[in-house]
Symmetry: D2
């Protein structure tokens, strides 16, 4: 590829946090340029956002349908689209671009429900398009190192996994003193899907377990709670989990854990060793043994595996963070897209980015959480 | 009281860890002296232990029954006995001394099962003797500060509690490579009771929640697992918990969490603030807010509440640890015993030490865990 | 400014770490585009680098002199140049572009010696060009918050400052087992200047003190050491410091502190409170009081001052790191350049980026360190 | 020894912190009993303290001279005396007991000045009495592990040492708002000696370096400051240090470092590895390498050396603290005293407790600090 990849965006206009993150992640390495967008369903707002990003006005669209057909028709059309709209639109937008022959990067969760997810999966398989899902936390180098350690057997046989994702930003609304920190649409099942908290962040915890350990959730017993009065959807959820291979564990997520900020973390316990990783301190990976000093693996060092090294931009202790991890996901998807354009085969072992299949697993996880909780935390199998 | 309190001990001879801890806790402050003991059911071993502790040989007994009657008959007999035998003997030994009119300090868990626990409770009520249970983790100053903060409403309404007690010392036995780190008797339900892991350490986590928050467990859904082959009793347990007042939470304990040492910890989430405390870093208490800097309360400072201050021996950042916390439990029970001897009334609000009632609650917790787990983690109410 | 700023680069071709950092910092926010470069003194290498960055071959130059004149002559010439060459060339390159009327971003240290630094300072003043120096650690939001706290008097009167910058990457060379971790040119006074360690990283520590506290070093007593055999220049240095206003302190830097990675840190002690900041944990700022709980300010929160907030890209606990801090320096300089182009006045209080004056202060600091050390750590005043 | 050792105490009556620490340290392990004391120069106060400790009134004395002669004459006289009076009395009290043939445990600093220290050293050598100095921080198990690592060459050749002892408890007095946190006697050179801060706590940092590394200070350049108005003696001091074997370093101490509590810490940098230890987190020892994961050694584990294990009382992660470390110093001295009484030879390699020689080295360190500071931080050799 002797040029930058051309990126379009649907959603993510002025003031939208996640759109800006996608743009920073895309531009960080100088290999992708934003050239088109339908940033809002309001054409005027879309246009203003296009000006913010110094785009050619002709390629700033008032609707995603228009954008898909116009870009598909251009010689220099976009190589992929980034979808950063509300959950209920993921399906339609992704479908439109896939059918227009355009590769897709989609924000999580994949869709509004499991059925939509499976349909997208089929469509991806049928079209052969590249489809990446931004489970961005898998982009951290030390998460990749954790995965490598498990794969290489350094932990021995896995016995137990605990994954937590507590946030507290919505706690003000429990007593009615907050100002509605959880966006209204997230409380609306028709827009957000069947779960708010487990759907928005619980799926990150679920995906992180899956990525690092390769384990699937077989069944779970979930207790979801809406602490905020008047809310239909959960803002807190705790699950007992039975994974494949007899592994036991806990996954929980919360938006009312006062003072917690973005405290996604995971502990994986094996017969030979255990590991701990905290998203808020992402450059370190703690490894523990029964009869040896505790070890701290630190990003940027030569003793790390190849994935951790390849996904680092700076030397040790020049901290990398959220945007760099996000950019790693972008880079991996961009590589797949470049290869597709250049007719290059996928590397042995495949690409290292969250796929539509991960998205389907996430939808099944959400569905099982909601069903189990409705049945008083009865054990519920994942529909996979 | 113008003399030291006279202490006897049952169990805890040469090489017994917990007996030595009780003795150090008792002697630290110069207010208690060990004067008698039945340190082993083998009279010869008991005698040797007596020599280690420089005791009058006449007061080193070959059986606890003999000790109880002999000491009860002496003018200068013991003021209390410390019971540090295996779980299945707690009941008989405690009963014997209570019936001999002697105050009791008993190691946890209270007894072999809930029924025994309730019988002891009745006996304590009937005799009026002082009965203290060494849920020693409540002796830490910063745990007392945490309790004060909850009681004073500084956290607001409690929404969620997470208490963990992971240890990893037994993980070697999962693959049969260990040397039997969990004592054989702990694996035997006739000696240890219906649970090993939840009984031995899960009860500490349960008691810590109760002490700090005042909340009772209403019902729980528990999954206990014996990862060590051939073991009847659990070495790992995870519970979803419904507390009183609509509070939700998780309690878990483990002995196969590789590399974890003694990582008891608790997080209490309230509408105004939250707190975190880690037993391995006991001199600090972390307090978190939605919209203010995170705070770290540190032992030994003048800004702490009276209980935290009264239970400190050294200035700030002269670290105190496990033995000092244990000694705080001893001091509080010793005060109650002194007061009983001197005919002094209990202070308003009562004494601050774990009681036989706490022990009964612990037995009910263990029973519910075991029953729930047998019923595939069905919600099970505590029999209180 | 209704377009991206146009950036050129001198140095920083293939494989050069700091050049890549400058490019990532520039591109992160989508407001700057790299359009020209003289990436190497070898025209062929320069050309290859230009291809890596997808540049118009016509704007990839074989020498910086050629680039300065060609770009100055273009209608769409660069708005500024980033200079990322070895120390001894900073002066000549910067001078060339300043004289061509082009704004400059220059890597630190400013120049080879104090005299060159002062000449550049004069030239900047004379030309009115924007000149930014990448003392990048001042770009961290929590460093800006620290500065705000000092300025607002929240620490009271400053009494003592301790700033450290230990690294250990060169320790292998002390016993001759390393592979020359410190680049050869850094050991050569004709290329690196009079100091290696204090020049390369000690100046960062010095600048950080100056930025946060506003204090100047009045005099210092320095002991510089070359632990690596055969090296003329220091790889370790310790200074006692007397600052303005009677403040005492310590500044030290090291490249042989085994196992330390990039552990720049600062402690500022005042009569009302103190603060601590660690570059390796940059999203937190610790504030300590004599009689109140310790506080941790965390990036991304609404309770922070405006500079800390304006220099954040992600919400709390979505960690930001080295590149983002670097990008903040770029953004501030870019704003000054845009304003200059647009004819907009500087904001009241000026811009917040390291200037040529900071660079001169750094050169004076290096000079004093070297002189003091030669005089057996005699107190030496800064030549300012 | 088939009985407890008999201990007397001079000083340390009601309300005296350090006396209480000595008593707790002595009683913790059940091998020492307090039987006599001259707790105050006021006989009435001494008597009241004796009652607090349940002593035989006959053995509570109104003066230390009376106590020395009376106890020396008793069949069951004290085996040793603990001296916890103000600095200026250490010499006279120690001399009196040594001349009465009684072993001594003395609080640090050894004496009022170097001359007194050397005289005590001679007296100890002449009498053959056991003399222990409570440089208590050497009693921590992980400090002993650090020493072992250095002795076993695990760090390689030592290059640099940084030892800090910042406290902030006196900062209130800098602006005259405090209530005189530093005791008046500590500000009086006739009682405290030539230095307050370096004498009281700087000597702990100095001793810790010496204990762990075996290095002696050859010369130092010190800047002592009295920030508190009207004070003759220092409350802050910073030293550049040249140790034996070409090792460079920094030692500093402070009582005005706002918000620091008791933050004694040390970093030892060697060619193979480095270590860090923090008194406020004493159960951990951090070991760092150039090309390997960072390691944390934790007290109570089987992988530690014999000294660290022998000086632990509880299993891993049952935290030990200040009192236990202090008790380790007492235990080691008590062993020497027992051996002397029993006619047992000292073990090969000698006992592991701070000796009168350590005390003399401390006095020389204080003297050099004060002289250097008076000479504008001129390099000053230690008078050893």
């Amino acid at each position: 590829m002797n040029r930058k990849l051309r990126m379009g965006m649907v959603g993510g206009g002025r003031g939208a946090f996640i759109g800006q993150v996608h743009r920073m992640a895309a531009s960080l390495d100088g290999k992708i340029e934003l050239v088109a967008g339908a940033f809002s369903s309001d054409p005027e707002k879309s246009k203003l956002s296009g000006e913010d990003f110094f785009l050619d006005p002709e390629r700033v669209y008032g609707s995603y349908e228009e954008m898909a057909s116009a870009e598909a028709a251009r010689e220099d059309g976009i190589d992929f689209v980034s979808i950063v709209v509300q959950n209920h639109l993921h399906f339609a937008v992704a479908k439109t671009f896939l059918e227009a022959g355009i590769n897709v990067i989609c924000d999580k969760p994949l869709a509004l429900n499991l059925e939509q997810g499976k349909e997208l999966e089929e469509l991806v398989n049928k079209t052969g398009a590249i489809f990446g899902l931004t489970h961005n936390y898998t982009g951290y180098p030390m998460v990749k190192e954790a995965r490598r350690m498990v794969q290489d057997g350094e932990l021995g046989r896995i016995l137990k996994v605990v994954a937590e994702y507590p946030q507290g930003y919505a706690v003000g609304d429990v007593e009615g003193e907050g100002s509605g920190a959880i966006a209204n649409w997230r409380a609306n099942p028709e827009i957000a899907g069947a779960s708010n908290c487990m759907g928005d962040i619980g799926t990150h915890a679920h995906n992180l377990v899956k990525y690092i350990t390769g384990l699937e959730v077989e069944e779970l017993a979930a207790e979801l709670t809406a602490f905020i009065p008047g809310r239909e959807l959960d803002d807190d959820g705790n699950c007992l989990v039975r994974f494949t291979e007899g592994v036991k564990g806990i996954i929980y997520a919360s938006q009312i854990s006062n003072g917690d900020e973005n405290n996604l973390n995971i502990r994986v316990y094996g017969t030979k060793a255990s590991l701990e990783w905290y998203q808020e301190d992402p450059n370190e990976l703690i490894v523990k043994f029964a009869n040896a000093p505790r070890q701290t693996y630190r990003r940027g060092n030569g003793y790390l595996g190849s994935a951790a090294q390849a996904n680092s931009r700076t030397p040790f202790a020049h901290p990398e963070g959220f945007i760099e991890a996000f950019a790693n996901v972008y880079l991996a998807i961009a590589q797949a897209i470049s290869d597709r354009i250049d007719g290059v085969e996928a590397p042995e072992g495949g690409y290292d980015y969250p796929s539509v299949n991960d998205g389907v697993a996430g939808m099944a996880f959400i569905k099982a959480c909601v069903e189990s909780s409705k049945n008083n935390a009865a054990w519920t199998k994942l529909d996979l």
